[in-house]
Each structure stands twice: as C-alpha cells, then as structure tokens.
C-alpha cells in the first residue's frame, strides 16, 4: 500500500510500531534472557539485566528421566497426526460440502462448526469414558481423537469457505473435457487450494499444540505433551522457573522460524478464504 497522504507522520508510525513490538516482545525476550540465568538471578529483585549466562536449565531439561525430548516427540506426533487427519478429511468434506446441493445445507454447515463449541471441561468426562472402553487412554490415538474433536469441524468449516471462493470456470471446463469429479477435485481444485490448506494446517496445529486440558486428562506417563511438562514444574515446593522459561524458549524458537517460513502462504490463504 502506498503511504503518501498518511496522516500519521513517519515518526509517529515508527513510535507505534516500536510500541507494538515492545508489547509483544518484552515478555518473550525476558523469558529467553531469564532462561539463561543462574537460578538465584531469575527471581532477583530488582530484576537483573546482566548476569553470567548458564545452560544449566537446558541441560536439566534434556537429561535424566524426565527428558523433555520425549514430550517434544509426543507433542509432535499427537499434534501432527491429528492435524494431518483433520486437514485431509476436512479438505475432502469441505469440497463436498461446498459443491453439494441439498436442502438444509446451511444447517449441516452450522452443526459442523457448532461441534467445535463444546465446553472443554464438560466433554472431558464423556470422552474419558469413551476412550477407556476403547482402550485409548495414555495412547497417541486418544490424544489424536481428542484433538480431532475440535480440529476436524474447524478444518471442514475453513476448507468449505476456501472452496466456496474458488472460481468454478476451471472445474466446469474440466467437466466438459470429460474429467470425472474425482479428477476435477484432485487435479484442478486441490492444487489451487495450497494456501488454504496451509492456513488450515497451521491453525489446526496451533490449537492442538497449545492444548492443556485434554492432554492433562487423556495422556498418561508415556504420552505427555510439552504443556504437561510445563505444568509439572509447578511442584508442591516451588515453581522451577529456570526450567519453565527454558521450555518456553524451546517452544518459541522453532515456532518463530516456522512462522517465518510459512507466513507468505498463510496470508494469501486467508485472503482467499474470506474476502471476495
């Protein structure tokens, strides 16, 4: 966008941007900085800006019996697989829902998104019972299904919106050329959907990645995710701030890089979805 004629002067704009970055980044920078402090310096008052850095908290996180690496793997598997299933099934269903002509289509669409609104604490008990009968407690499959309960409706909803916005001309042309519906979907519609798929994938990933309540109930000793590891530092005799801040840093860094890598797609993806 051109900025000529902007009422806010360049200086003022930079001040606002600086404020925005400060609001966002001060807590993160402080977290990263503090994660390298010796334990005593972390809770010092007044807060210390200078200290001799140490890796002890990281070392403690990645060694010994409760190695955080296990949690990272668990988080990646549970989040990754549930995201993959949500996106695959969601894309197919989204396309179907977008193209189908039936009465009550709006109601169906609304029912789908309404299943995502179930209050977390209230659905935990029914899901727990279900998982117990199916022997899915303390297993990846339990976590994956739990995450699907909010990610699948979200993926269908978003993908339907994306497919709704896709111009039909190309599909019609392919039909006339004798392509089957599947071929049209697979070779024409889906390739145009990359930004939409990227967007859906990332948002589903974030929602599952950030979950605490479900994992706290359905995960067992062998399937604990990263947020569970963080909550476990809240012990009876104290919060291990050093380790906690190190976990935060471990989570933030790859995500920031990840965000940098995909955000181009993300922005275009969302554009396609909702703006005509």
């Amino acid at each position: 966008m051109n900025t000529r004629g902007h009422p806010v002067s360049t200086t003022a704009r930079w001040v606002l941007i600086a404020l925005m970055l400060a609001w966002t980044l001060v807590p993160i920078v402080w977290m990263v900085l503090s994660s390298f402090k010796p334990t005593n310096a972390i809770t010092a008052y007044p807060p210390k800006l200078f200290f001799s850095p140490t890796f002890e908290h990281y070392h403690a996180l990645f060694s010994g019996g409760n190695n955080l690496w296990n949690n990272v793997v668990n988080s990646l598997i549970a989040t990754g697989v549930s995201t993959l299933i949500a996106v695959v099934l969601g894309s197919a269903a989204g396309y179907g829902l977008s193209r189908i002509q039936i009465r009550g289509k709006d109601h169906l669409a609304f029912w789908i998104i309404s299943t995502r609104m179930a209050p977390i604490a209230a659905v935990i008990v029914p899901l727990y019972l279900m998982f117990r009968y199916l022997h899915m407690l303390d297993s990846y499959s339990g976590l994956i299904v739990a995450y699907l309960s909010f990610n699948l409706p979200f993926a269908i909803w978003l993908m339907t919106a994306f497919f709704d916005d896709l111009p039909r001309d190309l599909e019609e042309a392919a039909h006339i050329d004798g392509a089957t519906k599947w071929q049209v979907f697979w070779h024409v519609a889906l390739p145009l959907m990359k930004p939409g798929i990227a967007t859906t994938t990332i948002l589903c990933f974030i929602f599952a990645w950030n979950d605490y309540a479900f994992a706290a109930t359905f995960a067992g000793p062998s399937t604990q995710t990263i947020p569970i590891a963080a909550a476990q530092l809240l012990t009876q005799t104290g919060i291990d701030w050093g380790k906690l801040l190190a976990i935060g840093t471990v989570v933030v860094c790859p995500m920031a890089v990840f965000g940098l890598l995909v955000k181009r797609w993300l922005v275009t993806g969302l554009t396609l979805g909702a703006v005509k």
């Binding site: 334990t39 005593n40 972390i42 809770t43 010092a44 008052y45 002890e56 908290h57 070392h59 403690a60 060694s63 010994g64 019996g65 409760n66 008990v125 727990y128 019972l129 117990r132 407690l137 303390d138 706290a216 109930t217 067992g220 000793p221 909550a231 476990q232 809240l234 012990t235 009876q236 005799t237 104290g238 919060i239 291990d240 701030w241 050093g242 380790k243």
Partner: protein, 478 residues
Amino acid sequence: MTTHHSRRDILKGLGGAAALTTLGAGSLRTALAKTMADDKTWKQASGTTIQFISENTPPTTAIAANLEPFKQLTGIDVKITQLELGDLVKKVALDFGSGRSAYDVIYADPYQVVAPYHQGLMDLNTLNGKNGLPAVPKGIGDFIPTQLGAAGYFGNRDALYALPYDCPTMIWIYRKDLFEKYHDQMKKDLGFDPTPSDKITWEQYYQIAKWFNGDHVKEVKYGTGHQAKQYDSLQCDFSNVLMAYGGEYFKNGDQVGLLGSAKPGPSTLDQPAAIEAAKFYQKLLKIADPGSTSWDWTGVANAFENGRFAMMPEWHEFAGSLESGKLKGKVGYAPLPTGPKRSANLYGGTGIGINGNATGKQKTAAWLFVVWATSPQTQLAGLKSKEGGGTPTRTSVYNMPEVKKASHPPTDMPNMLTADTMQIAWDKDHIGLRPKIPAWNQADTAVFTELSKMLAGQQSPEQTMKTAKQKIDSATGA
C-alpha cells in the same frame, strides 16, 4: 525459592548418602531382608510393572531418582507419574470411575482422595504380613500417631487406607538473623521478648509484624507475609489462626480432623470463636506484605527468600530449599503462635495407598512398593537427598543417632533443622487438623473464596464466616 537441582545433583546426593550410610543397592537388600523378609518374598512379583501416581513432591522426586535399588531387590518396574495435586485428584477419581486400576499405587491426600474415595482404596490390613507378603517394618506403630490417624484412616480405625508418606506441616519460619540483631530493641519497644515460640501469642505476632513495618529495619520492608491467594493455601493459612482461637469447622473438630466423618453435622464456623479468628486474620493481613493475596505457599516462600519480610507461617518442608538458597543459616523455625485456645500447626501430610481395583501380581507388587517407599531406610535416603527430600513420618528415623545429630547446624540434612519444632507441632495438642469429610473440596473452596472476599474488603468477618458456614452446610447436606 525455586531451587534448581539437576538430576545429576540428586544422584550425587543419593550417592553421598549411600557412601555415608552404606546404603547401596546390595546392602539395602540385606538391611531390608534382615528386618522384614527373605529374598523370595521380595521377588514374588518379579517382572511386574506398576504405576505410581503422586503429587510432585520432594520425597517422590527423590524416590524417582533412586528406583534402581528397588528394581534390583524385587524385579518390579515402577513407573511414576508426578502431577500437581488438582490434576492428580482428577486422574485418580476418573480411574476409580472407570472401574480399573490404571494407577496401582496412589498418593492419597487425606482430604481430597481418602475422604471422598476411600471405598476405592484397598484395606492395607488385608495385605500387611498376610499370605506370604512382608509386614511393615517395625510395625505401623512406628508411624507418628497423629499422622497415622490423619493420613491412614477414615471414620474409624477398622480399615487402613494409606501409610504416612510425607508430612508438611505449617510452622513459623522467620529471619533468625534479624530477630537476633534487633532482639534488644524489639524487646524494649514492644515490652516482651519477641523470640519466636509457641509462647508468643498471635496478637504479639501482629505487633512484631507491625514493628518490622516501621522504619527500624532496612533489611526487610514488611514484618509478615502470607499465602493468601484465593486457593487452598488461604484456607491453610487461616486454619492456623482459626484453631488457635478455638474456632472449629465442625463440632467435635478433633475427631472430624483425625479420623474424619461422612456426616459431620452442621458447620460451626459461625460461632463467636471463629468470628474472632476471622477478625484477627483480617487485621493481620492488613499489615502484611500486600503481595500476600497473590501468593500460594511457593510464592510466599519466594518473597521471603527475596527479603521482603521477616516472618511467615509456612510448610516446614520448605526448610530444605531455604537452607540451600541465599538465606542459608539465617532462617529460624518455631511452632506457630498461640491464640486464646492453643498453638495450632496445620498438618498437610499424605499417605500412599493401593487402588482397590488392583489384582494379582499388580496388587502384590504395589504392596511391596508401599512397604519399601515408607521404610526407614528410604526415608533416611530422602533426608539426604539434595532435593530437600521429605521429612520422615516414622519415630524410629528421628531416633537414629545420625539424624539426631543433623538437627543442628552445620547439617547435611537441612530439613532436620526443624526437628525440634516438629516434635512440638505434631504433638496432639499442637497439630491442626482440617476436617476430613467427603465434601471437603466444596468446604475448602467455600472457605477460601469467602476469606478472599473478606480480604478484598467486600464483606465483614461475620458475614464471611456466616456465608462459609451456609455453603459448607449445603455441600454436606447438613
């Protein structure tokens, strides 16, 4: 506070303990074998894997780091899940609800697990020394009596649901350095000897706190700090004062506290003594460090270590971490002050029990673990753990010469510095016991919520106690 300990430190600490007490795996086996049972008895569930679910407490952390001797002794694999207490209660209740035994050994908080779900726990009397199973070494009489009553039973002494495992209890923790340095001046200004002990009254505690608030002292800003966040901790902090003033949650408070009751009758929180206690607590918190209302027991310990105030009522097991932090050697311990009725030191200990749905080898293995985890040898190892460890729940451990010697500085068992205080605090006239009732969580929530409203200036002490009573009565159906 938040002392950081790497896994290596713990192992180092335990290694040191092993060297000092010749407590290696081999000798532990011999030691246990001698007192309790032969090798065959210990090996009878070999090859089994059991699950132990525990609050993330120092004793469990120490045990988790030192499971190898148990595995060598018994051939049993123990998987430990450590959770925050609320999450633990949720998992245990759901496990009972599912009618299975996903967790075989359970950290059974007397108030949140034993009271509501004791029917889900096994009667340990049916295992102790029966059917070829080993008996509890030195018998259950070796456990400190008040702890065995509070952590082990419900309603009566017929069924034993848990063996005392840890025992945090609230005492008066203070800056010894400051109390010594300003002793004479305080004595002159206040007109009494301020040295902390149960001879000091709560009113005098208030005056001491106020004295520190003044400009006499540059080391600290306030006199007293409290764990007054709207949370369990606020109820604990208040209960000390309540019981000292002669207030009770229920009629027959001693009985409802020690053994518990499914039908405690109407709450007596609206009685004059309880209201007096609430008035005093409100007055005390007005001059306490204003941070108090956002701190739980961890937060207040942190602030104490940061030099914000001179004293606090706090769980005695915090001694372990305080003595390894920057206040090392500067901290003193005493029983809590006395009210019109007595000095009350709230007990927060817990036992470990066995899931009633456990069967066969799981059950056997679970019992072997419970015996081992509460044995004198394991408790001694816990004392030496760099993690601050737990403190023993057995009389015999306190009587070991080595442990006795450690109760005065310099010591390699920092938690033992509280030993003299604890001997008083766990006495049946000094211990403070919350009601052990199935609806305790509702009662607890009612009390800390209403107190929080009182501290926020939204309601009077009278109103607070009255509303708390009504809510408790509606929860217990009285």
